[in-house]
């Protein structure tokens, strides 16, 4: 899996999909395009096997809501991957942020937006603290975030059990139910209404995608983050304040994790300690499938969305086909392996073609 994803962009430290190595390899080698084609092909396949796949309310709406949340999770991981670190506490940071939102709604009676801000602030602080520990001590991010994961696991459970009766904050501020169940069909600009398949919650994901895409593709800070990931020593020597960039990346990761936690809580209905339990694997899967390098220096913002969508579509399709628990994960694994192998084969073939033609 590692080699497959390190291959497509290897030799280039160019950051995002906007700056792909199109000069040397034909356009159809682009990994993101490959993923997109695969997602469309699988959707058509599942749709033809089960027409219900295109049911806007019962299938597409929940599918997109899931993809929205998990894309933000993948982005939270991608940000730290960009500096060559990882965040194993991504799920707990989500739970930590959601705890603050729940607390804000339940005890401080905050409106929806302020609760969300409190949640993001808490996530950002805990992430930045993690980054600060890593930058100051020089201990590997793997160890620090693992320790943070355990610390938060205990802390979040403890706070929920001491603050609530049912180990969850169930107060719902005005607008939360609407945010959960409204689609674009409920939002109209004059006579034109949106699609009932697209959840309103997607707005957070689109915003995160746009901001991060802009950060990495167009700003000096984004390039400094990538340089820190590609070669910390060179970055330091070039005058990049690597310590501060590490804190920034982890702070941003914490913020995105908290946003994902908030979205997950809105999706299920209450703020509870189990939020984010299953975030860690999808966070790596989405980012890495999309072309982000585990070693740092290369990210793909759109790739995180596409990688997450691919897994979501496969899972939903298999669910619709009625595949049982035992087989579901086997199929999921096989299809992902095929997807990655196909990508690798395509890259090798095209590389040979290019070499032959020059």
């Amino acid at each position: 899996m590692k080699t497959a994803v390190t291959e497509p962009d290897s030799g280039t430290d160019l950051p995002t999909e906007g700056a792909r190595p199109a000069h040397r390899l034909p356009f159809w080698v682009n990994q993101r395009l490959g993923l997109l084609v695969l997602i469309v092909a699988l959707s058509i396949l599942f749709g033809s096997l089960r027409p219900a796949f295109f049911d806007a309310r019962l299938v597409l709406f929940p599918l997109l809501r899931d993809i929205s949340t998990l894309t933000v999770v993948a982005l939270a991981q991608m940000v730290v991957l960009s500096i060559g670190h990882m965040n194993l506490a991504v799920g707990r940071m989500a739970a930590f942020g959601a705890l603050f939102a729940g607390f804000g709604f339940d005890r401080l009676h905050l409106p929806l937006a302020l609760g969300l801000l409190l949640c993001l602030f808490a996530g950002c602080v805990i992430g930045a603290l993690t980054g600060w520990i890593i930058a100051r001590t020089g201990v590997s991010s793997f160890v620090v975030t693992l320790a943070m994961d355990f610390a938060l696991l205990g802390l979040v459970s403890l706070l929920y059990s001491s603050l609530t009766d049912n180990a969850a904050f169930t107060t719902r501020p005005a607008g939360l139910t609407e945010l959960r169940s409204y689609s674009l069909a409920d939002i109209c600009a004059g006579p034109v209404c949106g699609s009932p398949a697209i959840p309103q919650m997607t707005q957070f994901t689109v915003l995160a995608l746009v901001v991060l895409g802009f950060l990495y593709a167009r700003t000096r800070m984004g390039r400094e983050l990538l340089l820190t990931g590609a070669n910390p020593a060179a970055a330091e020597l070039s005058g990049v304040p690597t310590g501060r960039r590490i804190i920034l990346a982890h702070g941003l990761s914490g913020l995105l994790a908290a946003l994902a936690g908030f979205m997950a809580a809105v999706g299920t209905g209450t703020f509870s300690a189990s939020i984010g339990d299953d975030f860690m694997l999808p966070s790596f899967l989405g980012a890495v499938l999309g072309g982000t390098l585990l070693t740092g220096g290369v990210v793909s913002v759109i790739g995180a969305l596409l990688g997450t969508s691919l897994v979501g579509v496969i899972r939903k399709g298999l669910d619709l086909l009625g595949v049982g628990l035992e087989s579901l994960n086997i199929y999921l694994g096989c299809i992902l392996l095929l997807a990655l192998s196909a990508d690798r084969v395509r890259t090798v073939v095209s590389y040979r073609k290019v070499v032959r033609s020059t």
Binding site: D165, I187, G269, S272, L320
Partner: protein, 362 residues
């Protein structure tokens, strides 16, 4: 130049996003949160299912667990006897509420129109029920009720977990001779049902007036058997001599405690939960004093039948959201051979209660 263009494009995108969220009006269309409140009919109609061929029932546990295995056969049996369109058993929710919600909507898209659900998260599951009800499906909460006393499903047929834990603790206290130190082993601490179980055990301990003390409550050890085994062997190594009784209100710790007590030769009396083959054999050989069994077969059987009646609109709930105890039974060496007949009797009684009281049929 390109930089300026990119800044411009980013600004335009952000503006469009802001505009789409701020400037647009929210259509005041159908409110998905509102439950379908059909008016209830009264009158002594028949609770015999007339035609269930269009009813497709999905029994959806929170994830894979030995407790739910009887649902599979009970569901298949109900399909045959009631002549239903289909009954499926799907355990792919993997103990994640979001995955369970997705699974339910997928099942709905596949044509299932009645759902018997064990909600992963008791505090969240009412939202799921409300969603399904608003789309016109018949919904039952099986084996666990939503937290907080309100139930947005048509009915909840479940073990009264607090009562079952109370019964188990009482059985343990009786076996201990009414005095000594008791340890409570249970599942996920941040789960509303675990909190109820802890309340039930504490209530039984309190009633002894200080003769029995609750030495320790160990939570979060129902993930798998290994976790439970480790926790129990640690417990016996550290405090084995002080413990006179162990009550387990979760499946894995119960199996682990039975094994550990037998192997270590501890004098502690163990009260377990459920009727797994291992636990039943431990009761027969004396290493487990008693077990509190629940009624999973009854939940699936009665649940499927009532769901079919509700889905076909032949009946409605007299009181929507009714919470019904499916029964829990203390099994000791004395009644280990014939406890199932008591359980079947309870299931038959449940069916009668549904027909006579809980359902209003045409």
């Amino acid at each position: 130049m390109s930089r300026r263009r990119s800044v411009l494009s980013a600004t335009v995108t952000l503006f469009l996003l802001a505009a789409s969220t701020a400037a647009c009006t929210i259509k005041n269309s159908d409110d998905p949160g509102a439950a379908d409140t059909a008016s209830t009919r009264t009158g002594g109609g028949s609770a015999e299912l007339a035609d269930g061929s269009k009813t497709k029932v999905a029994l959806v546990p929170g994830g894979a667990h030995p407790y739910f295995q009887p649902w599979k056969t009970a569901g298949a049996q109900a399909k045959k006897t009631l002549g239903l369109g289909d009954v499926t058993f799907d355990e792919t929710a993997e103990w994640d509420q979001q995955k369970q919600n997705d699974l339910l909507s997928t099942l709905a898209a596949r044509g299932y129109n009645a759902f018997g659900i064990f909600g992963v998260s008791p505090t969240d599951i009412n939202s799921t029920f409300a969603d399904l009800k608003s789309q016109g499906f018949a919904v039952a909460s099986l084996a666990s009720c939503p937290a907080g006393g309100t139930n947005d499903a048509d009915f909840c047929l479940s073990t009264d977990v607090e009562l079952a834990a109370y019964k188990a603790a009482q059985a343990a206290i009786k076996a201990m001779g009414g005095k000594g130190a008791l340890v409570h082993l249970t599942g996920n601490n941040v789960d509303a049902n675990t909190q109820l179980r802890m309340k039930g055990v504490q209530k039984a301990v309190k009633e002894t007036g200080g003769k029995v003390t609750l030495l320790q409550t160990i939570t979060d050890i129902d993930k798998d058997l290994q976790t439970a085994q480790k926790a129990v062997s640690d417990l016996l190594a550290a405090k084995g001599s002080k413990i006179q009784g162990i009550v387990s209100t979760a499946y894995n710790p119960a199996v682990a405690a039975a094994e550990a007590v037998r192997e270590s030769g501890s004098k502690a009396k163990v009260v377990a939960i459920d009727d797994d083959a291992k636990i039943l054999s431990s009761i027969k050989n004396g290493s487990v004093t008693a077990t509190v069994v629940q009624n999973p077969v009854g939940q699936a059987e009665i649940g499927t039948w009532a769901l079919a009646l509700l889905q076909t609109k032949q009946c409605t709930m007299t009181k929507p959201g009714q919470i019904i105890d499916s029964g829990s039974f203390v099994v000791t060496k004395a009644n280990v051979a014939d406890y199932d007949s008591a359980r079947q009797a309870r299931t038959a009684e449940l069916k009668k209660q549904f027909a006579d009281t809980y359902l209003s049929c045409r």
